[in-house]
Symmetry: C2
């Protein structure tokens, strides 16, 4: 039996699994995870894993393999995955969280399947309608989080309220800030702006007193250059915002590369200033912000990008580890209880 | 009376009006507009304009001033603007388009007021429910356009279809491409992804034959790094995508600046490679993409960003001039007629 903080890993999930998963574990243990108490439950093909562990001694020493022959295809529909998914590496990785054997689960596999299986096995926390996926967003010298980034396409104001609760507890767990600020993504900052759902959520946030540090509306540009810690939106808008930012980052990154590689002077400039340019590269490298947490379940599951490499997977492991080290679940339950009390108060006031 | 292509200008609209407006006219005439037949109708305070024209000889030679004492406040609500707006510089700038005196109108003033006044005076084209605002989006070596970027918060599939028609005619007018490709912004590219409105629009685009070069769904990252010319979305999502990209561009631009200015080596690198870096700066400068066209009205109105400077205003003038030089209005009417025929065909088929 492993001791320490146990992370349950779907070794077979991801475009380049199992290789990048084991390499990612090793990278994590030799970098960010070096002096921490991480232990791994490796779900997947035993022979393949054993062969990879030969080049990953740290991981080998801290892991236990749970063999399974089957894995979920990257393009399987969630419904197919639920029907045929039992016993796959992804299913088993979640099952270890459910049984309490592991503190957190992680997969770089099919997002829809992972969400469907997580909901089925772990179930929603009392007071949560549907789980959300929270993404970490780079800023200058800090990060903010945005949720939902794709699990819920159509949302009502009750869901947006739950996202606020889940997101601010997540931010506290990741960064240890006591009262993270919360904003609602909108097309303007005046009260009269926005669609009906956003306006209704804004009214709820202002009316209800459950300890939320709500700062009002934020606009798209505030995500990257603003000061709000937790940005709440529906999964349609959040997904498009996230991917738009990725595309813009890639475009501008390409322009910078062109400026540096296009001529001999650029190459010279790059050599002279190599250190600053490598720091710049790290700041806009999407691998450094990999790891989306599924929030609102009875158990923690982290989704790594399917196309990432070992560095990206190691970063998602770091997110999983931070959640496992925190008292994230208790925090969420406390805030949900406060939210429930505030809702009761409003209902009672309405009846009187 | 002026001859040439007449642009009607709200000189008093914008955070730094009237100065940046007149400076922008002069910048346009001495750069992009140099050998073109642009003439200006300058609506605003005659004394202020005359004083500014002393330092803008090209503009003075090609302009006529239409005096008015009043202007729309930058923070006026659209309803207030409609009630009290008659006779303001913004109102008069649109009136000159309505009367046929000017081919196109332009303002850097209050967006909501400009849209409300444009709708009231110019009216929607037959077959268009509500006008859209189209934005120009930078890419590597080209541009795409995105609409709606904020005029219509809640949209149905009929509106998204109209946006496609308006957008592709706009793209043809701006860039002279005969069959620009059209995509629908969504959270994935599979048929089953998206909300109900997006799915319904996707079905319409596939079923109806009105000459649209429809290429299916596109994701957020495809806006900046994809190949689709015209990207259709509702005004809520489009506005958030646009501002998110602006924020990301500013963040990454700041990282690049830090890398170059942070130390002596960076400064040296910048001097060595000055030319490439100045090209890079131009590529991500939002002023170079300023100018949102109001599409779907009986007349062309272009909105410049309110906080821009003379270079940004000159770019918006260039967008206005390109539209004025094209047969944009006829193109839109032709495509709307084809759309109407395709709709009739579907209705008739349904009745049989």
């Amino acid at each position: 039996m492993l001791d320490g903080i146990i992370i349950s890993i779907d070794v077979m999930g991801g475009d380049d699994a199992p290789d990048i998963v084991i390499d990612g574990c090793e990278h994590f243990l030799t970098h960010e995870g070096q002096s921490r108490r991480a232990r791994f439950l490796l779900h997947g093909d035993e022979n393949a894993i054993k062969s990879l562990l030969k080049k990953a001694p740290q991981t080998r020493d801290r892991s236990e393999i749970v063999h399974t022959d089957s894995a979920i295809e990257m393009d399987a529909k969630p419904s197919q995955a639920l029907r045929r998914g039992k016993g796959t590496s992804m299913w088993n990785a979640i099952a270890s969280v459910k049984s309490g054997e592991a503190r957190v689960g992680i997969s770089a596999g099919n997002t829809g399947a992972l969400m469907a299986m997580s909901k089925l096995q772990l179930r929603m926390k009392a007071g949560v309608q549907r789980p959300a996926i929270a993404g970490i967003w780079p800023r200058n010298g800090s990060q903010c989080i945005v949720l939902d980034i794709g699990a819920n396409i159509d949302c009502d104001e009750t869901q947006l309220t739950e996202f606020a609760v889940l997101g601010e507890a997540y931010f506290r767990a990741l960064y240890g800030k006591t009262e993270p600020s919360v904003g609602l993504l909108n097309v303007g900052t005046e009260d009269l702006k926005g669609n009906a759902v956003v306006k209704a959520a804004h009214e709820r946030f202002q009316a209800m007193d459950f300890g939320l540090n709500y700062q009002g509306y934020v606009e798209g540009n505030d995500i990257s250059v603003g000061t709000i810690d937790v940005i709440v939106t529906d999964g349609f808008t959040g997904n498009i915002a996230l991917k738009t930012a990725e595309g813009t980052g890639r475009l501008v990154g390409g322009f910078v590369k062109d400026a540096l590689d296009g001529n001999i002077l650029g190459k010279l400039a790059k050599i002279i200033n190599a250190r600053a340019f490598s720091a710049l590269k790290a700041k806009i490298d999407p691998r450094n912000f990999n790891g989306g947490a599924f929030l609102g379940l009875n158990g923690i599951v982290v989704k790594s990008h399917g196309g990432t490499d070992k560095i990206g997977f190691a970063n998602a492991l770091n997110v999983a580890m931070r959640l496992a080290e925190s008292n994230f679940n208790t925090e969420i339950e406390n805030t949900l209880a406060r939210l429930h009390d505030a809702e009761l108060e409003i209902e009672t006031a309405a009846e009187v």
